[in-house]
């Protein structure tokens, strides 16, 4: 066993932290209030190679190992969860799909654009009647001579307002009863693709979440990612990566919340001394810190498993489920440590509390994570269960 980061990983972490604290943390409140991550920030992140984190260097990426990528998400999440979600969606959902399902030609075309931030990736899976249940997708891909025509409505499309390319998942074989999904890379300016209303959210207000309409969108054959029918496997694959990235971002958020609570409790004087002297406060802080440390090693361990080439799906569900629970607990307690100051938007903790709530919904609800975990556990008893 060896829990130490390599020298290279430590160097990366220091670099990520320094960038995130210097450039991202200062715009986090602004991103929340104006409801967008500043485009200049994304340009700066791109210059640092952060938008091509997983892309091989011959395509202009930083080619990070999974643990270093988790460290990147942790540090961005520590500074601003909205920014972390923008980057995670771009990287773990869209770029990852191209990396693992793209043809050589597709990689050559898309990866440099994604890595340089010239094109931001958006992910269009969820529909009004298909959230957790991807088998009910109603968006249709109809074959033509030279490609496919897409029709449908996608909701909760992250990065829709800033994207250059949309990864759209549609049913190419309706007779397969919702199975037979295929994935397509649809460029922003493709006729028939319309970015609709912005969904205003409780937290994560900087993330650009929209409804997207697909009205007879013609997608050339070259833009189908993977083979026809590969959609379901691709969705499961990239969602696992996304869930781990979200858990890593949650780790950063949780650590930031504890840090804010510790600082406040040391400075706030009531009953003649710092409230840090009160056991009630100590309990909140100790319990929260324990959750963050448990989450830290769950995240790193899961990333390490990915590095070893293990199947990520199950571990990522544990990490995301626990990250949602831990950050919810931690931010709730740290609001309480702040008292009235925790409820006003002048202190970051109110924003962290609102943002943390998203982690039990994003990338699949906590309920879906539990179902997935249970399915895998019962498999060992040769028992097949369904959601």
């Amino acid at each position: 066993m060896d829990f130490a980061l390599t020298e290279e990983q430590q160097m990366f972490r220091d670099m990520f932290r320094s960038f995130a604290q210097k450039e991202i943390a200062k715009v986090a409140e602004h991103a929340d209030k104006t409801e967008q991550v500043p485009p200049e920030l994304l340009s700066k992140a791109a210059e640092q190679g952060m938008l091509g984190a997983l892309v091989p260097d011959n395509f202009g990426g930083a080619a990070l190992d999974p643990i270093s990528y988790a460290l990147l998400m942790e540090e961005i999440g520590r500074a601003c969860l909205s920014t972390a979600v923008v980057v995670a969606c771009h990287t773990s959902l869209v770029t990852q799909a191209v990396l693992d399902f793209g043809s050589d030609a597709q990689k050559k075309y898309w990866l440099p654009m994604l890595a340089s931030g010239q094109s931001i990736g958006a992910f269009a899976l969820t529909e009004p009647d298909a959230g957790s249940d991807t088998h009910s997708l109603a968006t249709r891909a109809r074959r033509t001579d030279d490609g496919n025509v897409l029709n449908g409505v996608k909701t909760w499309v992250t990065n829709a307002g800033i994207a250059g390319v949309f990864l759209v998942v549609a049913s190419s074989d309706p007779r397969a009863n919702g199975r037979g999904l295929s994935a397509f890379l649809v460029e922003k300016d493709t006729p028939g693709l319309k970015v609709g209303q912005r969904d205003l959210t409780l937290g994560l207000r900087g993330a650009s979440v929209h409804t997207v309409y697909l009205d007879n969108v013609h997608v050339p054959e070259a833009n189908r990612l993977g083979a026809e029918g590969d959609g379901q496997a691709m969705v499961e694959h990239v969602l696992a990566h996304y869930r781990l990235a979200l858990a890593a971002a949650g780790l950063g958020l949780g650590a930031a919340a504890v840090e804010a609570g510790v600082k406040f409790a040391a400075e706030r004087i009531q009953f003649g001394g710092p409230i840090a002297n009160k056991q009630a406060i100590q309990n909140y802080i100790a319990d929260s810190s324990a959750q963050v440390e448990a989450l830290r090693y769950l995240v790193y361990h899961t990333a390490w498993q990915a590095e070893q080439g293990s199947h990520l799906a199950s571990g990522a569900m544990y990490a995301k489920l626990f990250a949602a629970q831990a950050t919810r607990f931690v931010t709730d307690k740290m609001v309480q440590v702040h008292g009235g100051y925790g409820y006003i938007e002048d202190y970051p903790i109110a924003r962290l509390y609102r943002n943390a709530r998203s982690l039990d919904l994003l990338g699949g609800t906590g309920e879906l994570m539990r179902v997935g975990i249970a399915i895998n556990l019962f498999k060992s008893q040769q028992l097949e269960i369904s959601p």
Binding site: T126, D129, A130, G131, S132, D133, H135, S136, W156, D199, L200, T201, L202, G203, I269, Q270, F271, G272, K278, A280, I281, R328, D332, V335, Q336, G339, G340, G342, Y343, I344, E345, D346, A350, Y353, R354, R357, S358, D360, L361, L362, T365, G366, E367, R370, V371, S386, P387
Partner: protein, 388 residues
């Protein structure tokens, strides 16, 4: 034992619900977005007596006691937490302090226009360095002849920007501290030296206006001392006891409404080929919510009954506030989860309810203070004195 509500309370509940559904619910989203409860809504409510529910009819109140007041807070809590925060600051603590410790002359002069809603009240205790440690207040009241001069500032004062009359707590004798050194005053906000400071930008209850209040050499005539000189802290604590019961009632309404909304959604939402109501995860959330709500309902109305029948109820009041706020937060959080991502959207009422609910664990004495109160009362019974 009899757990049924008397017919007059049943009639009151019906009236409150109709008003809440017809006049408040349609505005709740706007109240949150525009950071104000419309003046006209409060005026309409005042017309049917809503701003004086617990007070005796001789002061223009409805004479419905703490029980009637809790019923109103529950019914309004179902639709808009900002509105009950405004009404709660007005009735439950601002005017209540005057009702509990005011002289007959003070009640006639101040409580009557408050109960009729002609005037709006606020309660000013908290300061930047005196939150949970309310005894640490620094606002000074210095006597000169038959007047007192107030200097200092208060923060997080609900209704601060809209109040006409404020119950203010200030130090009259720094050598005595909270016990004997703090006095309550009735202050009219149009007096010289009274200023409304910064408005707070809050996570929730955004429609209830919260601000700083600044007193700059504010002259208060001696006849506006509320209760006895030096006993202001006792007035504050007695008032807060009643406020805590009704706060629990507001939480009860919010939790009940969230349960109903979550059940409606669970019934309508199909995933994996069936209504999600068929899933045990959802059923368990609903069952847990419902149990907590029933326990809270019993606690709140039993405590209101204790208050109305003249029994001591401080400990139970602290329990109403503590348990009520935590039940509301827990249940609304689960109700949001049942809604899935939809619940995270600012277009949905459960999103607002989630932000609104969080304040109840903090204001009117943090839940840590409620636990301290409950524990010290319990230890007192076995002869042990514990301090916060």
């Amino acid at each position: 034992m009899d757990f049924t509500f008397a017919p007059e309370y049943v009639a009151l509940r019906k009236m409150f619900r109709e008003f809440a559904e017809e006049e408040v619910r349609p505005l709740a989203k706007t109240i949150d977005r525009e950071h104000r409860v419309p003046h006209e809504t409060l005026k309409k409510g005042a017309k049917i007596g809503l701003l004086g529910v617990p007070f005796p009819t001789k002061y223009g109140g409805m004479g419905a006691g703490e029980t009637g007041y809790c019923i109103m807070m529950e019914e309004f809590g179902r639709v808009c937490t900002s509105t009950i925060t405004n009404i709660g600051a007005h009735i439950g603590i601002g005017a209540m302090a005057i009702y509990l410790d005011g002289t007959e002359a003070q009640k006639n002069k101040y409580l009557t226009p408050l109960a009729s809603g002609e005037k709006i009240a606020a309660f000013a205790l908290t300061e930047p360095n005196a939150g949970s440690d309310a005894a640490a207040i620094r606002t000074r009241a210095v006597r000169e002849g038959d007047s007192y001069f107030l200097d200092g500032s208060k923060i997080y004062i609900t209704n601060g920007p809209i109040a006409d009359i404020v119950s203010v707590f200030a130090v009259t004798d720094p050598s005595l501290g909270a016990r004997g050194g703090v006095t309550a005053f009735i202050v009219e906000t149009n007096w010289e030296g009274f200023k409304v400071g910064t408005l707070e930008n809050k996570m929730g209850i955004r429609g209830s206006s919260t601000s700083e209040l600044i007193f700059d050499n504010l002259r208060v005539p001696q006849e506006n001392i509320l209760g006895q000189t030096g006993l202001g802290f006792i007035t504050a604590m007695k008032t807060l006891d009643l406020g805590r019961v009704s706060l629990g009632a507001g939480c009860l309404g919010g939790a009940q409404a969230a349960l109903e909304a979550a059940m409606q959604w669970a019934k309508a939402r199909n995933q994996f080929g069936a209504s999600i109501a068929a899933k045990q995860s959802i059923q368990w959330m609903v069952a847990d919510i419902a149990c907590e709500i029933e326990a809270l309902r019993s606690l709140v109305y039993r405590t209101a009954w204790m208050a109305d029948s003249g029994q001591p109820f401080s400990r139970e009041a602290a329990m109403c506030k503590l348990y009520g706020s935590e039940v509301a937060s827990r249940t609304i959080n689960k109700a949001l989860q049942i809604h899935g991502s939809l619940g995270y959207s600012r277009d949905h009422p459960i999103e607002r309810a989630w932000r609104d609910a969080r304040i109840s664990e903090i204001f009117e004495g943090t839940n840590e203070i409620q636990r301290t109160v409950i524990a010290s009362e319990l230890f007192k019974e076995i002869g042990v004195r514990v301090r916060s």
